[in-house]
């Protein structure tokens, strides 16, 4: 326990600097791609140098940081903010120098960067196409999501030995869901295990997609696309170099991506147990079972809605009409439900054309989220499970006032404090949601921009939950570009608090945190 009363912000900033310094190395990947295609080389060279300089400069503020619990929150919150800020540099440079890209606007570049790292997948790119943007920039966009997916801090803990002591606390502040699971005695090793599982899935998906292409089942899935898409599937990100997202690919590709999205929304610790020869740890896990159950139930309902016809008018040539077509109905329903529940945000058709009931099911699904310890966003399955169980307990104790009835999860009784924390978070999440809607609608009204309540709701749910696309003008085939700059910056904030699950950021805004 540190008995220092004030927050030693220098220590936090110093450590953020260290993380940024190492993170700058990731710019070398798009730089190499730039060299290969002969485009945007200076953009990434400058970004790389700039980031190293920022990292080293911040690091020098406190060369020997000593991190307490309070500093940990600040460090995690700041890391994500600073990462988003340096991640926007290539967009700015490329936008200003080369293409007349919408990303030349700072607020747009920041939005795209934060949307990337938080694995939201909402975009403000005016035209998503390799004709208007270099391969390197488009790959950087994919890469930001991949880096943010398993977590910048988790990656830092895996690599930097100086984070081994406070690492568990830092990871807890960043990791989705309540608490973290240590898999091995050393936290750094746990972090490495998680990243390796993540990397393994990513590579497997790349191999599968490119294999489909070689087998002639996926005409558009060339090497570039086969590398780019897994980088945003596994982090449940949803960016795609294709303007039509996954609609641009064959049915085989769409089916192939679904299991990877499901895996990405699963607690990665469970994969480690499977790998260690304990597959029953996965199949018996309460959260995983609830997760699969939710996916199956929602998919069944939406499949039915699509099958009986919901006024869909297919707008593209490569998607056949789906009413009365069982494979098409099932594929679109499964893909879209899995994509939204896991907060990936891919689309294999414009679900704006769906009927209202189907759309509202998707809006509802934006609040469910992936599992704790997955790369998914939103509230997380485990919290809903605990809430439902504790509501059942309330009903039970109403009938039997003397009953002592602990809430059990996977056979273990949960601590009452943990339940309170889950209630608190979920309520806070909903409060954020409603207040943010008011802000977005008021801001749109201020500048005379037309936005319906449903659009605003979906925009907020999709940014706060790190889903990505919403409905109407923020639908899967459109973008967040028309919003005023203030709203975009506000959504940057929403994505940031959504990714860190609110509390680590909110605590920084309380006076008590800074008080001496």
């Amino acid at each position: 326990m540190s008995w220092r009363l004030r927050v030693d912000w220098r220590a936090s900033v110093g450590l953020v600097g260290t993380v940024i310094k190492y993170l700058s190395g990731t710019f070398l990947i798009p730089l190499a791609v730039g060299f290969y295609y002969g485009e945007d080389v200076p953009t990434f060279a400058v970004s790389f140098l700039f980031t190293i300089v920022v990292g080293v400069a911040l690091e020098r503020i406190d060369p020997d940081p000593d991190l307490g619990a309070r500093e940990g929150f600040l460090m995690v919150g700041l890391t994500w903010l600073v990462v988003a800020l340096v991640g926007m540099v290539p967009y700015l440079i490329a936008g200003v120098v080369g293409t007349e890209s919408t990303l030349a606007q700072p607020e747009n570049a920041l939005f795209e960067s934060m949307s990337g790292f938080t694995t939201t997948g909402a975009t403000v790119m005016g035209s998503i196409s390799l004709a208007d943007h270099s391969h390197a920039i488009m790959l950087w966009r994919q890469l930001t999501q991949w880096l943010g997916g398993m977590g910048i801090i988790v990656l830092a803990v895996a690599i930097l030995p100086e984070l081994s002591v406070g690492g568990a606390q830092l990871m807890d502040a960043e990791a989705p869901g309540p608490g973290i699971q240590k898999l091995t005695p050393r936290i750094a090793e746990t972090a490495r295990v998680l990243w390796l599982a993540y990397l393994g899935f990513t590579v497997a998906e790349m191999a599968l997609l490119y294999g489909l292409h070689l087998a002639g089942l996926a005409p558009n899935m060339g090497l570039y696309n086969a590398v780019a898409h897994p980088l945003t599937t596994m982090p449940t990100g949803g960016f795609s170099p294709e303007a039509r997202s996954i609609e641009a690919f064959s049915a085989a590709v769409q089916w192939a991506i679904i299991p990877f999205m499901v895996a990405a929304g699963t607690n990665f610790a469970l994969f480690w147990h499977v790998f260690n020869g304990e597959p029953e740890r996965l199949t018996r896990d309460t959260e995983f079972r609830a997760y699969v159950g939710v996916l199956a139930a929602l998919t069944a309902v939406v499949t039915g809605l699509l099958f009986v016809g919901t006024g869909i008018e297919t707008t593209t040539t490569n998607v056949p009409p789906i009413v009365g077509e069982i494979e098409d109905s099932a594929r679109h329903a499964t893909f879209q439900i899995v994509s939204i529940v896991t907060t990936t945000g891919y689309a294999n058709m414009d679900f704006n054309t769906w009927s209202d009931p189907a759309k509202y099911i998707l809006l509802f699904a934006m609040f469910i989220g992936g599992s704790a310890g997955s790369t998914g966003g939103a509230v997380k399955i485990v919290r809903w499970v605990v809430i439902i169980k504790s509501i059942r307990r309330e009903l039970f104790t109403t009938v039997h006032p003397e009953a002592v009835s602990p809430v059990r999860l996977g056979g273990r009784a949960l601590d009452e404090r943990a339940i309170r924390g889950i209630y608190g978070f979920t309520l806070l999440y909903l409060v954020f949601f409603f207040v943010a809607i008011i802000f977005v609608i008021a801001d749109a009204w201020r500048v005379g921009h037309q936005v319906t309540a449903f659009e605003a709701m979906s925009a907020v749910a999709a940014t706060l939950g790190n889903v990505g696309p919403g409905f109407g003008e923020v639908g899967p085939m459109n973008s967040y570009l028309p919003f005023p700059a203030t709203s975009k910056l506000f959504m940057v904030f929403l994505m940031w608090v959504g990714r860190l699950e609110i509390l680590p950021v909110l605590v920084l805004l309380t006076p008590a945190y800074w008080r001496t």
């Binding site: 081994s164 568990a168 005695p185 601590d415």
Partner: protein, 444 residues
Amino acid sequence: MRVVIIGAGQVGSSIAANLDEDHEVIVIDKDTARVDALTYSLDVLAIEGDGVSLSTLQEAEVEDADLFISSTDDDETNIVACATARTVSDAFTIARVKRTHYLDTWKRSGGAFGVDFMVCTNLLAAETIVRIIGLPASQDVDVFAGGKVLMAEFRVPKGSPVAGQTVAEVDCFVELTFAAIFRDGDVIIPEGETVIEADDDLIVIGSPESTHAFAGDLARDNDSANRDVVIVGGSEAAVQIAQLLEDRGLRPRLIEHDPDRARELAEMLAGTTVMKSDATDREFLNREHVGDADVAIAALESDEKNLFSSLLASRIGVDRTISLVETAAYTDLFEAVGVGAAVNPRDATAEEIIRFTRDSDTENVALIEHDRAEVLEIEVDADSVLTGQPIRESAADLPARVTVGAITRDGTLITPRGDTVIEVGDHVVLFAETAVVDAVAKAV
């Protein structure tokens, strides 16, 4: 090494904190809150479960463990846990016990219960207290190099002749090194011109004679021979203290308020005067001239009572008070409000177990201020950075600031100075902060 620790109480946590940097540590405890706290505060894997159940031990992969430590507060649990681990694992097992019966059985049988090493909390606390009694004004004493070297911690009393002087002025003892000063929670490695202030905690390392002479200097009015000892309370630890004092030829007095227990103690301790009374009864204390005692040792069943009886003893004129403290966090507080020395049995236990976890070159370890720093005795080998050059020059090769406090070569003590050259086979006793101890131990 892979270390499995049962029990995340004070002892288990201290050991885990000491080992987590260099070893893979797994801690098992029944208590959810403790498990959570450890998960976030240390780089260890904390598992919730019962350490005597084989399935829990297998979850902790005890079969791959090199060292198995059971340090719960319950003797029987610790012994059974070791026996259980023994059924599936070849790990070296260490059990912590409070009662000496188990220790006697274990010693007599040459390793019963599947326990390879048994640590008795009460005995260790008693031994520490008796060492402290033997050195005036000290708060902690440890013996190194087979008794050739002492490490002692002193609190500089207000008005002491030493307060306000520099280390160089005080340093008239040939065989003594000022290893460190603790002041307001900071560690200061003293230089010649460092000024010693009242209320500093001094760590000195040197020959027993010099250490004793310095202790006499520190508090000139403290010239009593520490012969007349009063033990307050009849706890298990009190019995051990009384027995050790008897072995040294002293006749301690012991005050116990429960008549049956007093009778039991009197039968057990032939060389001790057992008195049946409430230790807070002023009239009794005056009648028995308890105030004339050289040392009063508080060994009652609660920290509060120990504090009270120590303060009362000071009040009626006892020169030195030493108290057992069950809660490690209170030791500083006790010493701050005027108890001469506070001894935490759990700290002593953790220290003893940690000795066992060190590599073969480390002969002995003392933990200082709940493991803020350590004093280690290391046998120097050929590839140590210390060998073959003056200490002054090896400082650059060491990973952090350490003080070489004493050297023994072939059983004789050499007091280290800047130009002393250390040879292979020397035993060095050095002081280092805990954060850097492992790096230092590797380099030496």
